[in-house]
Symmetry: C2
Subunit: 333 residues, 2 copies
C-alpha cells in the first residue's frame, strides 16, 4: 500500500540532514550573513532533493511581511496579438526583476469587491487594465500592503500610477485622415458586444473631437460582430449618405467592407473605410485595409515603473501617456 506522503517541510529536511531548521533556511536561501560549512550545505541540499522539498510561498511571505507577487486581473475578452505580446514582454521583464506575475481570474465581481479579493493575496503591486478600478479600490489595495498600483486605461485614478492609454487618439487619427481625404459624412462603428465600451467610447469621442468645428458630420453605427448585422447596416447605407467610416478596429472593418461590397458599394470610391490595430489580415483584403497602427508601451518600461514604485512607495504617482497612434494608409481610404 502506497502512502500518500505528507508535504515535506523544512523541518523534515532539517531532521534528515541532522541540522536545525535555521541551518536549512540559511543554506537553501544562500544567506550571505552567515557562513555554513561545505559538508553541511551538501547534506542539506541532498536531503532537500531527496524529499522533493518545495518551500511554502505563503509561509515565507507571511513571515517576510511582503511578497514579490504582481497581480493583474485576467482579461475577460479575447485579446489580440498586440496586447498579448505586450503582456508577454511585461511578464518576462518582471520575471527578470524577480517578480512573480499572477493573473487573477476575476469572475463577476465588480470594482471594489474585486479589489478586496485581490488584496487578500497581498500582492506587492497591482496592474489594472481598463477602468475596473476606482479610487476606493486603490485605497483598499494600498491599505493592504500593495506598494504600487498601476492602471492602464483611459484615465488616471486617484492614488495610482497611470499609463494613460488614450484611445481618443485612435479616433482622432482616423477622423483626421478621413477628413483630409475629403470625406464629410463620417460613420463610426460602435460594437454591440459588451466589454468593448472601454475602447469604443473613447474612440468615438476622439472622432467627435477631431471633427468638431468642421463641416463634417459624425454618425454612430452600432454593429454586432455577425454577418447579418453587417448586412443590415450595409443595406441602409445609400440612404444614410455616409461617405466614410471608421470601423472601430480591423475585424469590424473587414466585416463591414465585405457587406458594403456585397451591397454594390465601392471602397474607397463610394465609402472610405479605415480600421484600427493593424492586423496582418487587413492587408489581405482587396482593397487593402487602411488602419490605425497602435503602439503600446514597452513591457520593459512598465516593469521598470513597477519596480521603481515598489522601491519608493511614497513617491508621487507617475502618469504617462503611452498610446501611439498613426495612420497606415493602404487602399481602402
Amino acid at each position: 500500500m502506497v502512502q500518500i506522503p505528507n508535504t515535506p517541510t523544512s523541518a523534515d529536511v532539517a531532521r534528515l540532514a541532522g541540522v536545525s531548521r535555521a541551518t536549512v533556511s540559511y543554506v537553501l536561501n544562500n544567506t550571505s550573513a552567515v557562513r555554513i560549512s561545505e559538508p553541511t550545505r551538501r547534506r542539506v541540499h541532498e536531503a532537500a532533493r531527496e524529499l522533493g522539498y518545495v518551500p511554502h510561498a505563503a509561509a515565507r511571505s507571511l513571515r517576510a511581511g511582503h511578497s514579490r507577487m504582481v497581480l493583474m486581473p485576467a482579461p475577460a475578452i479575447p485579446v489580440g496579438p498586440l496586447y498579448s505580446g505586450f503582456l508577454n514582454e511585461l511578464q518576462w521583464a518582471l520575471g527578470r526583476l524577480d517578480y512573480t506575475v499572477v493573473q487573477y481570474g476575476t469572475v463577476g465581481l465588480l470594482g471594489d469587491e474585486a479589489a478586496r479579493a485581490w488584496a487578500e493575496l497581498r500582492p506587492v503591486a497591482v496592474l489594472v487594465p481598463g477602468a475596473e478600478l476606482g479610487p476606493q479600490g486603490v485605497r483598499v489595495l494600498k491599505r493592504s500592503g500593495a506598494r504600487a498600483v498601476v492602471t492602464l486605461g483611459p484615465e488616471r485614478v486617484d492614488g495610482a500610477h497611470a499609463l494613460l492609454m488614450d484611445h481618443d487618439t485612435v479616433g482622432r487619427c482616423a477622423a483626421a485622415h478621413l477628413y483630409e481625404g475629403g470625406r464629410r459624412r463620417i460613420g463610426v462603428v460602435v460594437p454591440e458586444e459588451s466589454g468593448l465600451e472601454a475602447y469604443s467610447r473613447p474612440r468615438l469621442a476622439g472622432v467627435r473631437q477631431a471633427l468638431s468645428g468642421t463641416d463634417a458630420a459624425v454618425t454612430e453605427l452600432p454593429l454586432a460582430y455577425t454577418e447579418e448585422s453587417a448586412a443590415r447596416l450595409a443595406a441602409g447605407w445609400r440612404e444614410s449618405g455616409l461617405d466614410a467610416v471608421f470601423a472601430y478596429n480591423d475585424e469590424y472593418a473587414m466585416l463591414l467592407m465585405r457587406a458594403l461590397q456585397d451591397e454594390g458599394l465601392r471602397v474607397p470610391e463610394d465609402v472610405a473605410l479605415i480600421g484600427a490595430d493593424d492586423l496582418m489580415l487587413g492587408r489581405l483584403l482587396r482593397p487593402r485595409l487602411s488602419t490605425v497602427h497602435i503602439e503600446l508601451p514597452s513591457g520593459r518600461d512598465l516593469a521598470e515603473l513597477v519596480d521603481r514604485a515598489v522601491r519608493d512607495p511614497g513617491g508621487e504617482p507617475e502618469v504617462h501617456k503611452v498610446l501611439g497612434a498613426s495612420v497606415v494608409r493602404r487602399e481602402s481610404s
Copy 2:
C-alpha cells in the same frame, strides 16, 4: 503629515471591537459551530469596516493547510476567441464552486522548474494546457499538496487527469474531406512561428494517418505568418503540383488563399483550401473559406472534473477525449 497606515489585522479589529481575535474570526467567517450575540457581531463588523480590514489569504491557508486556488500557466501565445471563451467559462464555473483561479505568468522556466514554481503556491489543483508538464512535474505538484492535476493536451501524463485534446482529429477531418473531394496531392501548412508545434504537429500527423494506405501524397509546407512567406510559397505552387491544402488554421488559410489568388491560381478549382477554427473572418473571403470547426469541452464540465478530483484525490485519473472536429464546407474546397 499623513502616516502610511499599517495593514490592519484581525487583532486590530478585535481591539477596536473590544473582543478577542477568536471572536473576530467567528464573526467574519460566520462560523456555525459557535453562536455569537448580535450586538457583538455588529461591533465586529463595524470595526472591520472602519479599519478596511481584508483577511490575509496566505495566513489563512497556512493555518488551514490548504487553499482553494486553482492554478494554470498563463498562455504564452495569443489565444483565439474559442479558447478564450473556454477559459472564461471555466473560470466562471470554478468561481461558482468557490475556487480562485490564478494564471501563473511562467516566464521561461521549462517543465519541471515551472512545476516547482507553481508548487510553491500550494494550489489545490493545477490545470496545464499543452505538453508543458511531465510525470516528474506531476509528482512534484502532488507531493506539495495539489489534490488534482489536469492536463489539457495531446496526450495523457502519468498520474494526472487528462482532457485529451486530440488535434490529430482536426487533421484527419480535413484530410478526409479533401480526399473525398477527389484531391490527391495534399499540402499541409506547418507554421514556422514557435509555440505552435503542440498543435501543428498532431494536425499534420492526423492528415498523414487519414491518408496512409491511400493513393494520396502529403507534403509539409512550412509557412511564416507574413505576406512574403506566403508569396514565396505560392510562387512555387504550380511546379509542386499540389491540388489541395490544409492550412493549419483559418488565419494561415486566409494568408495563403490571398497569395494563391495573387499568383493566378483559382480556389477551389486549382487548389482546394481548408482552414480550422471556424473564425468569423473566414466567411468574409471569396470564396468563403471552408474550415474545421472545433468543439472544446465545456468549462463547466472541466470545473466539475476538478471539483470531483479535489474531493477524491485518491481516485483513478480520469481520461476524456474532448475535442470535437467537424468540417464546415463553404466554397474554398
